[in-house]
Symmetry: D3
Subunit: 339 residues, 6 copies
Amino acid sequence: MRVVTMGEMMIRFMPKGNLRIEQADEFEVHYGGDESIVAVSLARFGMESRYVTKLPENPLGDNTLRKLKSHSVDTSYVARGGERLGLNFYENGASVRPSIVLYDRKNSAIADADPEDFDFDAIFKDADWFHISGITPAISDKAAKLTEVAMKAAKKYDVTISIDLNYRAKLWSVEKAQSVMIPLMQYVDVCIGGAEDAARMLDFKSSKPMYTEEGYNIEAYKEYFVGLKEEFGFKYVASTLREGASSSDNAWAALLYDGKEFYHTRKYELHLVDRGGGGASFSAGLIYGILNGFDIAKTGEFAVAASALKQTIMGDYNLVNLDEVYALMNGDGSGRVQR
Amino acid sequence: MRVVTMGEMMIRFMPKGNLRIEQADEFEVHYGGDESIVAVSLARFGMESRYVTKLPENPLGDNTLRKLKSHSVDTSYVARGGERLGLNFYENGASVRPSIVLYDRKNSAIADADPEDFDFDAIFKDADWFHISGITPAISDKAAKLTEVAMKAAKKYDVTISIDLNYRAKLWSVEKAQSVMIPLMQYVDVCIGGAEDAARMLDFKSSKPMYTEEGYNIEAYKEYFVGLKEEFGFKYVASTLREGASSSDNAWAALLYDGKEFYHTRKYELHLVDRGGGGASFSAGLIYGILNGFDIAKTGEFAVAASALKQTIMGDYNLVNLDEVYALMNGDGSGRVQR
Amino acid sequence: MRVVTMGEMMIRFMPKGNLRIEQADEFEVHYGGDESIVAVSLARFGMESRYVTKLPENPLGDNTLRKLKSHSVDTSYVARGGERLGLNFYENGASVRPSIVLYDRKNSAIADADPEDFDFDAIFKDADWFHISGITPAISDKAAKLTEVAMKAAKKYDVTISIDLNYRAKLWSVEKAQSVMIPLMQYVDVCIGGAEDAARMLDFKSSKPMYTEEGYNIEAYKEYFVGLKEEFGFKYVASTLREGASSSDNAWAALLYDGKEFYHTRKYELHLVDRGGGGASFSAGLIYGILNGFDIAKTGEFAVAASALKQTIMGDYNLVNLDEVYALMNGDGSGRVQR
Amino acid sequence: MRVVTMGEMMIRFMPKGNLRIEQADEFEVHYGGDESIVAVSLARFGMESRYVTKLPENPLGDNTLRKLKSHSVDTSYVARGGERLGLNFYENGASVRPSIVLYDRKNSAIADADPEDFDFDAIFKDADWFHISGITPAISDKAAKLTEVAMKAAKKYDVTISIDLNYRAKLWSVEKAQSVMIPLMQYVDVCIGGAEDAARMLDFKSSKPMYTEEGYNIEAYKEYFVGLKEEFGFKYVASTLREGASSSDNAWAALLYDGKEFYHTRKYELHLVDRGGGGASFSAGLIYGILNGFDIAKTGEFAVAASALKQTIMGDYNLVNLDEVYALMNGDGSGRVQR
Amino acid sequence: MRVVTMGEMMIRFMPKGNLRIEQADEFEVHYGGDESIVAVSLARFGMESRYVTKLPENPLGDNTLRKLKSHSVDTSYVARGGERLGLNFYENGASVRPSIVLYDRKNSAIADADPEDFDFDAIFKDADWFHISGITPAISDKAAKLTEVAMKAAKKYDVTISIDLNYRAKLWSVEKAQSVMIPLMQYVDVCIGGAEDAARMLDFKSSKPMYTEEGYNIEAYKEYFVGLKEEFGFKYVASTLREGASSSDNAWAALLYDGKEFYHTRKYELHLVDRGGGGASFSAGLIYGILNGFDIAKTGEFAVAASALKQTIMGDYNLVNLDEVYALMNGDGSGRVQR
Amino acid sequence: MRVVTMGEMMIRFMPKGNLRIEQADEFEVHYGGDESIVAVSLARFGMESRYVTKLPENPLGDNTLRKLKSHSVDTSYVARGGERLGLNFYENGASVRPSIVLYDRKNSAIADADPEDFDFDAIFKDADWFHISGITPAISDKAAKLTEVAMKAAKKYDVTISIDLNYRAKLWSVEKAQSVMIPLMQYVDVCIGGAEDAARMLDFKSSKPMYTEEGYNIEAYKEYFVGLKEEFGFKYVASTLREGASSSDNAWAALLYDGKEFYHTRKYELHLVDRGGGGASFSAGLIYGILNGFDIAKTGEFAVAASALKQTIMGDYNLVNLDEVYALMNGDGSGRVQR
C-alpha cells in the first residue's frame, strides 16, 4: 500500500531545553514539515511512503533529503532547485509561557515550485492515498495551485485524499484561506481538523460551543462532524482533542466519524517533551488504520496512541515503531522500565 | 519615569539541568542580584531604569556591565574598582530535593564600597522611585551604611522608596538584621515581603498562623499588613504567596494592600524552570503598576503574571516584554503554540 | 560496621535528556550496577563499605575503580582481568513512553570470574553484612556459582546476608531463576523484593492481588510477607511500593516486616529525574537503619527517603549525605531554596 | 571623535568546531556583518561609535540590537521593520578543506530599506568618519541607492569616508559591482582592499602579478596603490596581505599608503580560530589610528595587530581591548600565561 | 557501475575533542567500519554502492542501517540478527600523545554470521567490483570463511576484487593472519596496503628499508610493488604513504602501480581533524578512478585528495562530494573562504 | 616510597575551547594546584603519595577531596574547615593571543590555615620526600609560615625537600618573595626553576643572557646552576626550558644538574592542548626518577616526556600511566594509532 504526501520541509531552529530564542547562543536543528511527518511515520510503520517536495541544491537541501532517506521514505520525486529552504525558529514554552514560532519561509523552493517540476502521473499511478495539510496551499499562490493540480491528478487515479486543515494565522487570512480551501474540498475524502479550523477555513460554523470549562462537548462535536460530511461530502471526519492550559502538560484524545459510527478515544494525560508533530502523527495513524482495515475504534486508538507517543519525543518525527504504538494502545503506559 | 535600584550583582554558577554541584564538570554562568533583576525588568517594560553598584575592574566586572547595557539599563553610575565580584553556586533541586545556594560573596566590590563611590545627588535628583532589597544591607556593615546613605539621599529628592525584605539566613542573624533594618523603615514607603521575613527582620510577629495545611490564611495576612502599616508607616504592603512541597512545582499568587484596599490575585500553578528571580520580578511588576497608575487589582495581576512568567525562564532575569505579561494576565496561559 | 557487596559494574550509556537511543549522537556515561549503588550509598553515609567485583585491565576498568574510590568505597578486593566491562544502553522514557534498557553485558569480567579470583576469607572475616542482588547470579552460570560460594563464606563468619530479588527477564527465564535462587535462600536473612519478583524467582505466589486500581493492597502484602518468612526463614522482609502510570511521575513508598511488626512508610509523590538506582538506594537505607539499630519505623522512613532522593538525581548513585536524608525524613520536602 | 558605520547585520549559523554543515545537529549563533564589526571594535577602543541599519521587529532583531548595545555601540538610529534578518551558514574549514559560506540574506530588512528610514542629517552632523564596505551596496539595488544617499549626506558634513571593497561573488557580478562602485568612489577618502578586489570592483588592473610563489610582490603593490590614488583621488589606500594554503594557518600583514609614505607591517603567523572579521577589524584599527593621529607605521602595526588578534577569537567581533592590542604590537606574542 | 563491499560496522565511541577516555563523561557516537566507509564514499560519488553485513535486531542495528540509507547505500542484502553490534572506544591523540583504540567487538552479528545469511549470487550477479579489507577475515574464523565464500562467489561473476590489507595486531597474530590471507590472494586483483602490512600478512618482505629519516624510499617501494605483483598475480598495487611524528599533523601521499606504470602523488601536509577512515577513503577513490577509466595519475591524485579531505572531517565517513575532491586535486587547497 | 606534597587546591573555571572569559556562558570546572598535580602524578605512577591541604566543609571541598581519592592520593591529613575554596578563571589563549589567569583565591581555607591544623610529625615520619612550590608561601603570610613549619618538620625526619620556584607576580612582589623564599632555601635539597624565577625570588642573577634569539644558552644556564648550588647548597638543580612565541605551539625540554653532571634532554615540539600543569608534571617526573634511582639522563628524559604528555591533555592533572611515559621516552611519538 503506497501513500503519497506533498508539502514543505523546513529546518526548525530550536533553543535547547526551555531557553527563549533570546537566550540561545546555539540552536538545535530539527527537520520537519507536516506532510513529511506523515511520510516518515508511515514508512516506519512499514508502508510504501512517497514524499513530494522541492528542495534547494545546497547542503541544507541535501541534509533534508538524507533525513528522509534514512527513514526509507521514497524520495524519487523530490525536485531540486529554487532559492532556499524554509526555516522557522521555535521556542519551547514552559508552564504558563506559550511556545512561539517565528517563520522565515518565504521564497522557499517549494513555495516557488511549478506543477511542471513534478510528474504527477508517475507519482500517483501506483498510489493508494494522497495526504496533504492546509499549510501547503497557505505558503504561496503557486503552492495553492500546486495543491489543486496534485489533487486533480490523484483523483484521476482514484487515490483517496485526506487533508489536515491546520490553519496558520501567520501564513494567510481567514478570507484568503476560505477562497483557496473551499474549492479544494470537492476532492477530499477524509477531513482531519477541529471545529475551530473548519470554521475559519471552510466557513462552516456551529452555533454550539465545542469547548466549555468541563472540556470538549462531544455531542456537539458529533453534530458538527455530521454537518461537515453533509456540506462537503467527506467520507471520514476526525479531529484530535487537546486540552490543557499549560505548555508542559496536556490531555490528548480524538473523535472519529466514518459516516456511520463515531468513536471517542481514550484520553492520555501527557507531560510534553515536544508537542510539535502531534497532529501529523495522528493523521499518519489514521491513514494507517484505515488502509489496514482497522475498525473505527482500533483506528482511533492506534492514531491517538501513536500521536501521544510523538509528544514525548523531541523533534518533529514520530520515532516509534509499530510495537511501541500497540504496547501503549494495549494499556502499557505504566512507565515501567523494559529490562 | 525613572527608577533607581542599588545592590550587588553576582555570578551564579549553576550545574546543567538537575545535576548536583557534586556532579558538575561545567557550570552555567548566570548573572543576577535582586535589585538588578528589578532594573532589567523595568528597562524591558520601557521605563528609565538606573542601576547602582560597584564592579571590579576585570573581565567579570566588564561582562556584568555588558549584560546590564544589553537590556538598556542606565549604568552611568556604576562604580568600578574593589577586589572581586561576588559569586554563588546554585543547585537546582528537583521534586523532593531542595535547591541549594552556596555563597562566595565576601569582600565583593559592592560589599566594600564607600558612599563616596557614588554621587547620590546626581543619582536621585531626576528619579521617581528607589528600590532596594534587604539583601544589600546584609552583605556587609559598609553596605548597610551605604543603604542608609542612599535612602536618605533619595528622600531628599522626594523619591518613593520600596524595599523587598528578603531575609537571608546565610548572610546575617535575626538580631543583626533587626538592628539594621528597623531603623531603615522610616524611609520606606512600600514594603514587600511575607510575614515570615517581617517577623525575622522587623521583629513584627502575629499570633495567628499565616499558613496552614489548607494554604495561606488570607484574613490573618490582611490583619498583619494593617499592623505593619501602622507600626512602620508604610503606604503600601505586598507579599507574594508561594505554596508547594516540591522543587519542581509551586503555586504562585500575591496579596497587596494600598492602605485602603486589599487585593488577592489569581493563583498560578507553575511548573518551575528556574524560580530564582521570582520575588524580584514581582517587585518590578508592582513598581511598574504603581508608577503607571494602575489600580490595585491591575497592579497585582500584572506583578503576579510577570513574576509567574519569570519562573518559567532559565536565569535570573525576567526576559519578557509587556505584551507577554498582558497576554498571561488576560488569560492566555493556554500553552497554545503561537503560529 | 563493615558491609560487603558483590556484583557487576557496568557503564550505562544514556542519551541526553529525553532523547531516544535512535537520536543520540552522544551518550552520557554513567557507572552503575545494583550492588555498587548500595556500596556507594553506605560509604557516603559513613560506613565501611567493601565492594567486590572483577574489572578488565583497560581504561574503562580503571575508570570504574576510580569512581568507587572517589566515594571512599574499599576496593582492595576488586579483581582485575577478564575480557570486557559490561555495558547497557538506557533510554530515559517520558510520560507515556517507557524507559528502555538494552543490555550488552555478556562475557564481562565478573560474569566469567572464578571463585579463585577472590579471597573470601579475607573479605568476610571483618564484615558485618553481605548484600547482593538477584541480578548477579543471573548474569552467568559462573556468577551464580560465585554467589553461592560468597554466601557460604559469609555465613562462615556469621555475616548477615541480604538479597534484593530484582528479576531481570532479559537475563534469565523464570525457571532458570528459580533453580538458582531457591537454593540460595537458605543463606539469606533479609529479603528485599516485591511480590511479583518473589513469585517469579522463588515460586512463591499469593492468591490475592497485591495491586488493584486503588493501589497496593497492604493487608495482602503483609500476609505475603509472613508467608515468605515462614517458607524461607527470612528474618526481615521488605519491599518498595512504586505506583504510577508514567515515566515522569511516580509514587514511592515501602512496606517492612521484621518478623514482628509491619511498617508502611510515608508515600512520596516523585517527579522523576532518573529512577535508576531507586531500589538499590532503598536497600542501602534499610541496611543502614538495621545496622545502626533504628527501629522499624525509622529504618523504613530513612530507606524510603534516601531512595526517593535518589530518583531526583541523574545517574545511578545516590549522591546525598546523611543530613539530606534526615531533612527529607523529617518533613522538609518543601522545595524551599536553602539560602 | 565619532565614527558612523552602516550595513547589514546577519546571524551566522556555524557548526561546532570543525564539523561540516551536513553534520550539524546544532548551530552556534554568531552575530556579524562587516560594518558592525568595525562599530564594535571602535566602541571597545573607547570611541563614539554609531551603527546604522534596519532590523526586523522580532526576537532576532531584538537580539541583534542587544548585542550592539552590550558593546556600547550607539544604536539610536537603527530603524526597525522590514521582513527578516539576513542569515548565513558558515562552515569552518580545516587544513586543506576550505571554509564555506551559504548566504540566505535576500529580502532582509536593510536590503529593503528606504533612505526615508534614516535621518542622515542627524546621523552625520556630529560625526567625523563614515565607514562602509562594498558588501552593503551589493545586497540589493535599494541598498546601493542607500549607500549613495548616505555618502552624499556624509560629505555634506565633511565627514571622512572609508570603504572596504570586499567583493562578494555570491552577491553580484563583476559588471554589476563596477556599475555601482565606480561612481561611489568620488566620495571615498580611504580605500581599503586588495588588488584582486579593486580589479573586479573598480576595473583597475595592474599588468604585474601581485602575488607569486614567494608571496606578495610589495613593490608592485606600491605602484598599484599609487595608481589607485591617482585614478580615484583617494587620500589613503591600504590592504591586508593574507598568505597561506590552509584553512588552519595563515600569515597576516598589511600594506598602507597615505599618499606620501608606504608602510609594510610586521607579518604574523596565525593559527586561526575564526578568520571571519579579520578584514573588518583591520579597518577599525586603521580608522582608530588615523583618527588618533598615529603615524602610518603605528597605524599599520596597530591595525594589523588588532586584526591578528581577531582571528584567534571565535565569532565575528574583535573582543579585545586597547591594552591587548598594544601588548601584541609591542612584541608580546610570546604565548606566556599572564599570571 | 556497481561496487559491493562487505565487512563489519561498529559504533565508535569517542571522547569530545582531545579528551582521554578516562575523562569522558560523554562519548560521541560515530558509525564506521572500513568497508562501509568505502561504500559511503562511492555512493556519495554517485556510484551504485551495495554494502553487505549483518546487524543485530535492536536500536543500534537500526541506527546503523539508517546511517547507510541516508547516504544512498544499497542495504538490500544486509542480514539482521545475531547478538550484538561491535563497538570500539577511540581516543583522539594530540601532538606527541598517540590515538588509542579499545576494541569491544567480539561476538558481533557479522563475526558470527554464516554464508547462508547472504545470497551471494544475487549480490554479485549485477556487480562490477568487490572490495573488502583485511579486518573482516580477522574478526573471527567464521568471518574468514565468509570472506572466502564471498570472494569465490564474486569471481564466479567476473567481479574485480580489491583488498585493503589493514593488519590489526589486536585482532590476530601475524601467523594467523598469514594462514588466512595468503590463500585468499588468488582471488585478488587490486592490492592496497603498505610494505609493513604486506610483510606481516603476506609474509612478503623486502631487504631494503622502505622508510628512512628522509621519508619513504620510493624506489625501494616500486621494487616491492613489482615483487608483490609477481608473487601474487595482482593487477594493481597501491599504498598510501603517511609521514609524521605527531597525532596532530601528518603528510599524506600515495604510490600506485598498475602493472606498467608507477605514480607517486602530490603530498599533502595535513592538520588532522580525524585521521580515521583515511585509508578506506583512499581505497574508495582508487576504485572510483579505475572504474571511471581515469589514468593512473588522475586516479592517484583523485584518491589521495579524497582521502586527504577525509582527514579534515570528524567521523569515519568521507562527507565530501565530487566537486570538492576535484577542487582540491586541481589545486585549491588555499583555505580561502568560498563566498 | 612515600612523597608528601602540600599546597592549595583550586577550582579552575575555564571557557570551552578557545573562547574568551567574556564569551563564556558556561565554564568547565577543573581542579588543580601545583602540588596536587605532583601528588596525582606520583600516585598514578604507583608511589605512595600524600597530599596536605585544608578544604572548606562544603560541596566544593568535598569534590576536591573526591578528585584526589579517585587517583589514590592519601588524603588522611587533609584538614577541613575555613571559609572558601580558592578559584581562578583561566582563559586558554590561541596563537598570538596569550592565556590569562584571573585569581580569586584570597581567604581560601589553606591561606588561612594554622600549623595546628596539621599533625606534621605523623605526616612526615614515614615519608621520603617533601615537595612544595613557591606558590604556597605566596598565597598568605600564614601560608608562608606554614611552609616553614612544614619544611622544618620534614627535616626533622630527614625527608628530602624539593621546591618548584614558580614566581607569581599576581600574588606577591619580588621583594616580598625574596624575604620569604631566601630563608626557606636552607631546607631545600632540590631546586626546580628557571633563571628568571630564581633571579626574582632568590635575588640570584647572572650577567649572561639565558635566552637569545637562537633559544636557550645552555652553557650560561649550566654556570648559573652551579652558582645556585654553591649559593644555596642545593644538591640538585633543574629547570624546564620552554620556547615559543605562541599560545598554540611550544618547544619543551629541560636541563638537569645533580651536582656532578648536567643533562640536557631531548626537545619536544608540542601542539598544546593545555599547558597548565606542565611544570608540576616535570617536578613529579624528576622526583620519580630520583627516588627510583634513575641516572640523570633517564630522570631527565622521564620527566620531560611525562610533562610533554601533560600538555596534550586537558585539565591540570597528568592523566597518564608509566607505560605511556616510557613509550614516549623510547621514541614512539609517532602519532600512530594503537590498534
